[in-house]
């Protein structure tokens, strides 16, 4: 190993001993994340077995009704929130940088934060089951059952624990979007990026727009549970249907959010074993992007039986049919690729086939239930249980198992056993079908879902027994698979490098793998550079490409332009630290203590979280470099500090705020939703917030925003005094805006517990005031950064990003003020 390689290794070395857990590098975080999510899969699977024992016989008393309701609620919630979404983020954090020849994702500490939040939240939610305190409202948590009829902490655990995890998911989505758009290797234009990256880009964007409505819904429900704001209480003007809309605007894209990444794995595996590039690359991109859009037009098909107008049902039925088109196209692209190439058989491919065969059944039954009249019968029966498991096991779990067989050698250096794999394949395939296929029939002959038992002699008995037997065979397959993963492999020879002879960049990884990711960041000219580019591996290994060295001992990776992938920055990424772990623990504390109404502890935890995050930002972001430019190799010199749209931090802020606006718009949607369901909204005899104070608030926010624009400009002066004046005045205007906004409802004695009108005004005010407070913190942060010399007239990323936040802040404050002030005048 030469000197430059040693320096590089030193910069990227994983910490040892107990400090190991301070690692933030994607290869470590991704691994922990994957293992944790897989652990939750096993837990969810055990819950499924418990349910199948209970349902094996009619009128069985293995579980009580209450226990069963907790178990099925947790099974659904664990599988969706703690396995399906996190595993895709885990695998992407682990592999995406490798597929793009990047050293790390742009925000390693954010990944670490997401992981710790996921672990803490997940254990908290699952743990509740062992104290008999688990949520028991189903994974869909329909009010008013969950707001007025379940008084235990179960529902709060679900709401707060999973909101916490949803926030972590959004953090990962921000990371992955910026990763795909800005951290590709030079030359990897949009027409050359690995299909996996396309899918992940689409999925991450979907998360960004799908999760916030649920977070907004969670907020409304928790406000009703904790403070009695009657959003879903029909007797005080609320409407339980609003929750269903918000839940399914999240819930349907969610299905594609968990399906597309697994199909993305298939899109990596199929060309490798067909020994030929993917046929129809453009078609697959169409399918990914098209599905991403259409999946947001399907949510009402979960609500076909709620009594909506036929036309509404028709619209969503139509979109549900349309989404089948891109899905079919992908499958035919895979088949076409297999036809073109000479196929090498392997267990990976067996699981891919299993996935296809299973998923297509789920897709076809999906098309059936998308036809509304049929759904009137099938909805909420075992037919749907069968359908959704064919979709999720076929579309998610089998491809992920294939992915495990495929990538295991890349991560561990050892291959899994083809023999054990074949056994696992047959057990899973047979067990799965024996278990779930009969459910279609069970449903059609009238067995509803979510029943803890069923009467004997109705024709359900044998079918349920068969399903239960199948479930145990399926579990047997998982045991074999698990044994294959865990069995000691010391005696086994290490796998050769690029064991499957694949063509994409992740297979540059050496065996055993080095923590630096790639020895040097290559120039890419093909979709399958390992197949097409001559001497490619040798050039990478000899450090003939970019960043083969770490002269300053810092972790560095390249940032490239979005479309053409021309290098634009040498990005320094932070190294190991415990800060994200503490930040996650303290934010977790806010949610966990909040669940039990221990508000003082929650407050303390919140303050600690606030300062930890502040410390993390202060020490780890927008660091002024020791030199403004750096030679990254091959005669290329790149800046080490950029701000504005060229910077990854700017993108992260922009993307986060898109998600934030989505949550806000969901709340605004709620306000107008109540208008549509009520004859008179606002109610005639109720006083609103008035016109004056909300408009004063909008005016003050406008002033604060204008001053922030000015501050950004003034910051470029060497003398900072005018910058301080402008920013601090803006802080005052921010406080004035918040005060005026509160004054409206306050002075008119609006009591949010009285009627949903007051509650929906107050929740908009609450949301906006919290954001104004955050805006003020950012303004003061910028002042402090400048005062401390961490931000200067040249190095201005902080103020640029804070101003970006303020663009969105202005929108939020404007929409809130104008809605609550003016809408009552026109409605």
């Amino acid at each position: 190993m030469n000197e430059s390689a040693e320096r590089l290794l030193k910069a990227w070395r994983t910490p040892k001993g107990w400090r190991y857990w301070s690692a933030v590098n994607n290869s470590k975080i991704g691994l922990w994340y994957t293992i944790t999510a897989f652990g939750f899969l096993l837990f969810g699977g055990l819950l499924a077995l418990v349910m199948r024992i209970q349902l094996a016989f009619p009128e069985n008393d293995f579980l009580t009704a209450d226990q069963y309701n907790q178990v099925f609620t947790m099974h659904g919630s664990v599988m969706m929130f703690l396995f399906a979404v996190p595993i895709l983020e885990a695998i992407s954090i682990l592999l995406l940088p490798e597929m793009m020849g990047a050293r790390d994702l742009p925000f390693p500490r954010l990944s670490a934060y997401g992981f710790w939040a996921f672990l803490i939240g997940g254990v908290f939610v699952c743990g509740s089951l062992f104290f008999g305190a688990g949520p028991r409202g189903g994974w869909f948590m329909y009010p008013p059952m969950t707001t007025q009829y379940q008084t235990g902490v179960g529902a709060d655990i679900w709401l707060l624990g999973l909101s916490f995890i949803e926030i972590a998911s959004i953090a990962a989505a921000v990371e992955l979007i910026v990763g795909v758009l800005k951290c590709r290797p030079p030359g990897m234009r949009l027409n050359l990026i690995p299909l996996y990256a396309w899918y992940i880009l689409v999925v991450a964007v979907m998360i960004l727009f799908a999760f916030p409505p649920l977070i907004a819904g969670d907020l409304l429900m928790e406000l009703e549970r904790a403070l009695d704001w009657p959003f879903f209480d029909a007797s005080r003007g609320g409407d339980p249907m609003l929750w269903q809309h918000l839940f399914w605007i999240f819930g349907h894209p969610e299905v594609y959010i968990v399906f597309l990444p697994s199909i993305a794995l298939v899109a990596m595996i199929v060309p490798t074993f067909a020994r030929t590039p993917m046929v129809g690359y453009g078609w697959i991109v169409l399918a990914a992007v098209g599905t991403g859009f259409l999946s947001f037009g399907l949510w009402v098909h979960h609500m076909f039986t709620t009594g909506l107008p036929g036309i509404t049902i028709g619209i969503f039925s139509a979109a549900s049919q349309a989404v089948a088109i891109p899905t079919g196209i992908q499958i035919f692209c895979f088949i076409a690729t297999l036809l073109v190439g000479r196929v090498t058989r392997s267990v990976c491919l067996l699981f891919v086939l299993a996935g296809l065969a299973t998923f297509i059944i789920g897709g076809l039954t999906g098309v059936m239930v998308a036809i509304a009249p049929f759904d009137y019968q099938a909805h909420d029966t075992y037919f749907i249980v069968g359908h959704l498991h064919y979709v999720l096991v076929g579309g998610t779990i089998f491809p992920i198992v294939a992915g495990f067989y495929y990538f295991y050698p890349l991560i561990t250096g050892k291959q899994l056993s083809e023999r054990l794999g074949t056994i696992a394949f047959w057990l899973m395939m047979i067990g799965f079908n024996v278990s779930f296929f009969p459910m279609h029939i069970t449903g059609m002959i009238g067995m509803p879902r979510r029943v803890y038992t069923y009467p004997a002699g109705m024709g359900f008995d044998n079918l349920n027994l068969i399903s239960s037997v199948g479930a145990f065979v399926l579990a047997g397959g998982f045991v074999v698979f698990l044994w294959d993963l865990l069995r000691p492999k010391g005696g086994q020879p290490t796998a050769p490098r690029n064991v499957w002879n694949a063509g994409t960049l992740e297979w540059l990884a050496e065996v055993p793998d080095q923590p630096w990711g790639v020895r040097s960041i290559p120039i890419v000219e093909s979709r399958y550079p390992l197949w097409d580019q001559e001497n490619f591996v040798r050039d990478v290994d000899e450090g003939n490409f970019y960043l083969p060295d770490a002269e300053e001992g810092l972790r560095e990776t390249l940032v490239t332009s979005t479309v053409e992938a021309t290098p634009i920055q040498c990005l320094r990424v932070p190294g190991p630290t415990f800060l994200p772990m503490w930040a996650a623990a303290f934010t977790g504390g806010v949610f966990i203590f909040g669940t039990f109404h221990w508000y003082i502890m929650a407050g303390v935890s919140g303050v600690l979280a606030f300062f930890t995050i502040l410390a993390w930002l202060w020490t780890g972001t927008a660091i002024i470099p020791e030199k403004t430019e750096k030679n990254v190799g091959l005669g290329l010199t790149l800046p080490t500090y950029v701000s504005g749209p060229a910077a990854v931090g700017w993108w992260a802020m922009f993307i986060t705020m898109l998600g934030d606006m989505t949550a806000f718009m969901s709340l605004v949607f709620g306000y107008f939703f109540y208008w549509t369901v009520h004859e008179d909204f606002p109610p005639k005899d109720v006083e609103g917030p008035g016109v004056l104070w909300p408009l004063v608030s909008v005016f003050c926010a406008l002033a604060a925003w204008g001053l922030m624009l000015l501050s950004r400009k003034l910051n470029s002066r060497k003398n900072g005094s005018l910058f301080y004046v402008s920013t601090l005045t803006s802080v005052l205007m921010t406080f004035a805006a918040a005060g005026a906004l509160i004054a409206g409802p306050w002075l008119h004695n609006m009591d949010p517990t009285e009627h949903v009108y007051q509650a929906s005004v107050c929740v908009l005010v609450l949301w906006t005031v919290i954001h104004l407070a955050l805006g003020a913190v950012m303004q003061l942060y910028a002042v402090a950064r400048r005062a401390a010399g961490k931000m200067t007239h040249r190095f201005n990323a902080d103020i640029v990003n804070v101003t970006l936040y303020w663009h969105f802040m202005m929108l939020t404050a404007g929409i809130t003020g104008l809605t609550i002030a003016l809408f009552p005048l026109v409605s």
Partner: protein, 309 residues
């Protein structure tokens, strides 16, 4: 358990269920064909040792992946949408109209009298054959869903809203209805019976239901016990002073087929079990168990309730 009664959507006895079952068989047939073709192709692609020309596969993607599915889906969608208006349309004016409210975990049933009155019963619905019937569905607490698989599709009962559903039975018989939306602890045991009869039998039944219960001297002891044990706080028996509204109306309890919202067949043994082991039969139910009743007292009550014809 009444085994002869059907809960199957495929054992149809109503217009809606029949059309939907037909749709189901057609779609299933189509799905099987599509599955066999696609999977056959995939298996062939893996097994085949030959490399096929790229050009041909382009046509496969365009034809098999895009064009054929689009045509199939368009046809299916048009067919499905064309079915909707009739299913959604309310029953003609003057049809029998029944209000059903979901209550955890039973059903309050009111037949609307043409004169504007309500005929109250619970957990059992009689319908005349070959007549469209209009249901007005509400909930008194959480979301429930009203479903009689053999007659037609389901509709949710949402607090604060009134949903409607039209059913049109075409065959006489006894059918099971269930709550299809998870509604809490005893969701699995929120069931009811539906009896479809000819018009005469239906009219007769409705006439009986509109009357107060007949009382006789043998029933006096039972009635007194019913009142003194506090049953009347929750249950109404028209013709007595029992006028509680929290639980099901029991005026004609003896004529019903089931106990505890379709959970047990209405036999004296089952009724005795229900009175004493209430929560064993139906966990979570609001009705308290009357464990303190002696065997004799139970018998008296059972006889009394059975006599409420």
């Amino acid at each position: 358990m009444n085994i002869s009664a059907s809960q199957s959507a495929l054992d149809f006895a109503g217009k809606g269920a029949e059309r939907i079952a037909e749709l189901f068989y057609w779609m299933t047939g189509g799905a099987i064909v599509i599955w066999i073709v696609v999977i056959g192709l995939a298996v062939y692609a893996v097994m085949s040792r030959r490399a096929h020309p790229v050009r041909m596969t382009h046509w496969l993607v365009i034809g098999g992946g895009a064009v054929i599915p689009t045509i199939t889906l368009t046809a299916l969608l048009s067919y499905g949408l064309a079915m909707l208006p009739e299913l959604q349309e309310p029953a003609p004016k003057g049809s029998t109209t029944i209000e059903v409210a979901g209550v955890r975990w039973w059903w309050r049933v009111n037949y609307l009298d043409p004169s504007g009155g309500r005929i109250v019963t619970a957990n059992e619905i009689y319908l005349p054959v070959d007549q469209p019937v209009e249901f007005k569905l509400t909930s008194e607490d959480v979301i429930h869903s009203f479903w009689i698989p053999s007659l037609g599709g389901k509709i949710d009962m949402v607090p604060g809203r009134t949903n409607r559903l039209k059913l049109h039975p075409t065959r006489e018989g006894v059918f099971h209805g269930v709550c299809a939306e998870f509604c809490g602890e005893a969701h699995a045991q929120m069931r009811f019976r539906v009896v479809v009869t000819d018009q005469n039998a239906f009219d007769e039944w409705l006439e009986t239901q509109s009357q107060a219960s007949k009382s006789s001297s043998e029933m006096a002891e039972g009635e007194a016990m019913f009142l003194s044990r506090g049953c009347s706080a929750c249950h109404t028996i028209r013709g007595t002073s029992a006028d509680g509204m929290v639980g099901p109306d029991l005026t004609h309890f003896g004529s019903r087929l089931s106990i505890a919202a379709g959970v047990l067949d209405n036999t004296p043994q089952n009724l005795a079990r229900w009175l004493v082991d209430t929560h064993g039969v139906k966990p979570g139910v609001e009705m308290p168990a009357f464990e303190s009743l002696s065997g004799e007292e139970v018998d008296t009550l059972v006889r009394y309730l059975g006599a409420l014809q």
